[in-house]
Symmetry: C2
């Protein structure tokens, strides 16, 4: 009974995700789904990226949070439209929430939408929200064993960001183990080593984003 209902929920989510994806295709908007543990640096990455991206692209952010408007508030002042979704305890975003968020965004004037998912390395990876790519963030203090322990996200992602690379000397992160595990899960997954504190990796991240946006515009 429980399993049947869960399948129905996933099916309904997938159907709505297909609608979201078709709409984004029509509007030539690239949408990226940022997923990580709490505190891995999703919001800080956006704070560093938005000033650079808005010179060239029309960007919006959909903020998913269990409670509070804190992340959305951190992004005020970057001059981008923000749609906040409070999940009221739920551990992930679903496609129906994205559709609701679209109602407050002007889709005729956007090139790129970041979805900052709920901080959770497990559940958000299970739900298609119509995105072009899931981007997995892992921060070095979480440990090199996390891809193997939480494999679904790293199998589903089209990009992994190894964040807080500046903390590497203090946290005993073994890069060889990390890359070996990742190769077993998803051999073609590109990885960008990043520090939002000192700017490491920001150029590669902007290049990757540029390619994603360009692909979307030309394939649409």
């Amino acid at each position: 009974m429980q399993i049947k209902i869960l399948q129905n929920v996933l099916k309904a989510n997938d159907a709505k995700a297909a609608e979201v994806r078709a709409l984004l295709q029509q509007k030539k908007i690239c949408m990226l789904n940022l997923i990580s543990s709490p505190g891995a640096g999703k919001t800080t990455l956006l704070e560093k990226s938005l000033p650079l991206l808005t010179k060239k692209y029309r960007v919006a952010v959909i903020e998913g949070d269990v409670e509070t408007a804190r992340d959305a508030e951190r992004l005020e002042g970057y001059n981008v439209p923000i749609a906040l979704i409070n999940t009221s305890g739920a551990c992930h975003l679903e496609s129906v929430s994205i559709e609701k968020a679209f109602s407050v965004l002007d889709l005729d004037n956007l090139d790129l939408i970041f979805v900052e998912n709920v901080g959770n390395l497990v559940c958000p990876a299970e739900f298609d929200i119509g995105e072009d790519a899931k981007v997995a963030l892992l921060s070095t203090p979480e440990g090199d064993d996390k891809p193997s322990k939480y494999p679904l996200l790293f199998r589903e992602a089209k990009l992994a960001i190894l964040n807080k690379i500046d903390l590497m000397p203090y946290v005993g992160f073994n890069k060889d183990n990390f890359y070996a595990d990742l190769a077993k899960l998803n051999a073609s997954l590109p990885v960008i080593e990043m520090s939002c504190q000192n700017g490491t990796g920001m150029d590669k991240w902007l290049d990757w984003l540029g390619e994603m946006i360009s692909k979307k515009i030309h394939h649409s």
Copy 2:
């Protein structure tokens, strides 16, 4: 429909949790439910605590992991019984899993059971597994804003551990904000500042554990 089923699931979980709790009461075993984000330091805390605790108490560990036996393997050699539960993708432990784990533990020869829940700051807090206390771990690199953003765990917990206090100088963690937010959520929640690297807080943790175990034995 979905909500009704979820309520049924929670009810079934609560009923089984009550059975687990009654059994632990009868056997005079204290059971603690360790909950945190991935990589906050649950397994390392156990690695540091077990050699000290096993001098005085009969201890077992129930390890909950989405996939792999890595955490259980890390605890081999500490000479405690370990029951590993792979959740096959599920984001939290439920009371029925604890009952299953009990089948491989000798409950007549235990004083203390640690349950290391799936690394997830959201879902595990929703499920009573029959524990005496939920222990919330937060590590400083995750940021001082996490209690407010993920409030349920910090409302439910009977102890919070602020871990990786040795990384404080590198990660911009604001202790005043952390304690002010926590006071709003759960004013009576004790907090232990800890570093498993340099031993800070270990004495307070052992004192707290000793009290919990002693209470259980004398009230049973």
